[in-house]
């Protein structure tokens, strides 16, 4: 304390200011931490699909779509048993984005959006087409329950605009 008193009045003031600044900084950091914990990781953007109803329950699909696809691929390739309801082609026709016309071209597309959220890499589209073959597979999107159309497209467009370097491939 004696050494402090030895300092000039101006220096004492400066020290006080620095202390106050440090305290405010720490407080801000703490609150930010608390906010982060409550808000969590931002949820993935998921566009409603065209078909209206998935072939299986969404909860089941979220966990097991890879097994369904793998089983179906095995049957189709080796046995020639092709079930259009369970083929990746039909999944893509239904889930392709209204904006990018793909499930994996931009960060907000169906597959990429959720796989990024779950931090799981998808290698399907290194070989498989990520968009339907023909443009006729794109009827105007009106979700049967929510009636979502333009609002969601705008939202996705806005997100796209923020990420101009959206990779064309996963």
């Amino acid at each position: 304390m004696r050494s402090l008193r030895k300092l000039s009045r101006a220096a004492q003031l400066w020290l006080l200011l620095v202390g106050a600044a440090l305290l405010t900084g720490a407080a801000l950091l703490l609150t930010a931490d608390v906010q982060g914990a409550t808000a969590g990781v931002p949820m993935p953007v998921i566009e409603p699909a065209r078909g209206g109803q998935c072939v299986k329950d969404p909860d089941y699909m979220r966990r097991n779509h890879m097994h369904v696809l793998e089983h179906q691929a095995e049957l189709a390739v080796h046995g020639g048993v092709r079930d259009p309801r369970l083929s990746l082609k039909t999944c893509i026709q239904c889930h392709a984005s209204q904006v990018s016309r793909s499930v994996a071209a931009t960060k907000t597309d169906f597959c990429i959006s959720c796989h990024t959220f779950a931090a799981v890499q998808t290698s399907c589209f290194e070989c498989h087409a990520h968009r339907p073959a023909n443009a006729s597979a794109f009827p105007p999107l009106v979700h049967p329950t929510t009636g979502t159309t333009a609002h969601l497209t705008r939202q996705v467009l806005a997100l796209d605009a923020q990420t101009p370097s959206a990779a064309p491939r996963p």
Binding site: V81, K89, C127, A133
Partner: protein, 252 residues
């Protein structure tokens, strides 16, 4: 006084008008909903029954009808499977046109060569992972989920039918997934055959008016291909290897 229309006639008239309105409404709804309905129809279509072991798909190539310089089958194959139309030397090749010339007589012929879909395929024998396989109906395929790209099958094939994909592929066709590091070859357009259609090269040859390739079930005595094979001289490429290919040639 206006003569009154009989009640029954009036009713009939009304019902006609109602009927017309109903038809119009259905039509309008059809126009508005048609694209959406198409998707749902696709989704509800019955699954195909699968490869039938009683069937043996085959092709008969009539080299007397095949025109020199015509590459419609190659172009159609490339378009169908998303292969590059102007391939580099390292690009995959599923079907190629070759010209053969008899040295003594100078007689030349042009014919397509692709995977011969052998009954005893050497590519299947040598595959270390089981990726190369023969379907119950005789079509020889590669399961690219299992293929490790060792290229042993390419060495084993006497017809040079298989290709390795060296570089990353983009813009694949939904029916023909293709990716770097795997081996591939003619699939006899298995996705079309399972839908009951003809392979792309056969369709293209017919569209060009040559009809040099016939596709069908070799095991069905009533099929066109079985009848032709029974009635005209045909041969297999490298018959000495006893691989019994499903693709037969006439006039070579």
């Amino acid at each position: 006084m206006k003569p009154e229309t009989p009640t029954s006639a009036r009713d009939a008239d009304k019902s006609n008008r109602r009927g017309f309105l109903g038809v119009a409404a259905v039509g309008l709804a059809g126009i508005l909903l048609a694209p959406g309905i198409r998707l749902i129809e696709v989704a509800q279509a019955a699954p195909s029954t699968g490869a039938d072991p009683k069937v043996r798909w085959g092709m008969l190539i009539d080299s007397t009808k095949c025109r020199s310089g015509c590459t419609d089958c190659v172009t159609a194959c490339n378009a169908e499977h998303g292969l590059p139309q102007n391939p580099k030397p390292t690009d995959a090749q599923w079907i190629r046109k070759i010209e053969i010339r008899e040295i003594r007589t100078g007689r030349t012929q042009s014919l397509p060569v692709m995977c011969q879909h052998c009954a005893e395929p050497p590519c299947v024998d040598v595959c270390p992972t089981g990726a190369s396989f023969k379907r119950a109906d005789g079509i020889v395929l590669v399961d690219k989920h299992i293929c490790i790209g060792c290229r042993y099958c390419m060495l084993a094939c006497p017809y040079k039918a298989r290709s390795f994909i060296h570089e990353p592929v983009t813009d694949q066709k939904p029916d023909a997934p293709r990716g770097k590091g795997t081996v591939e070859s003619c699939t006899m357009c298995v996705h079309k055959v399972d839908r009951g259609e003809q392979p792309a090269c056969v369709q293209a040859c017919a569209a060009a008016g040559h009809n040099a390739i016939i596709f069908g079930n070799l095991n069905d005595p009533q099929s066109e291909i079985a009848q032709r094979v029974r009635n005209i001289q045909t041969s297999q490429l490298r018959a000495d290897l006893k691989l019994d290919p499903s693709v037969r040639y006439h006039g070579i």
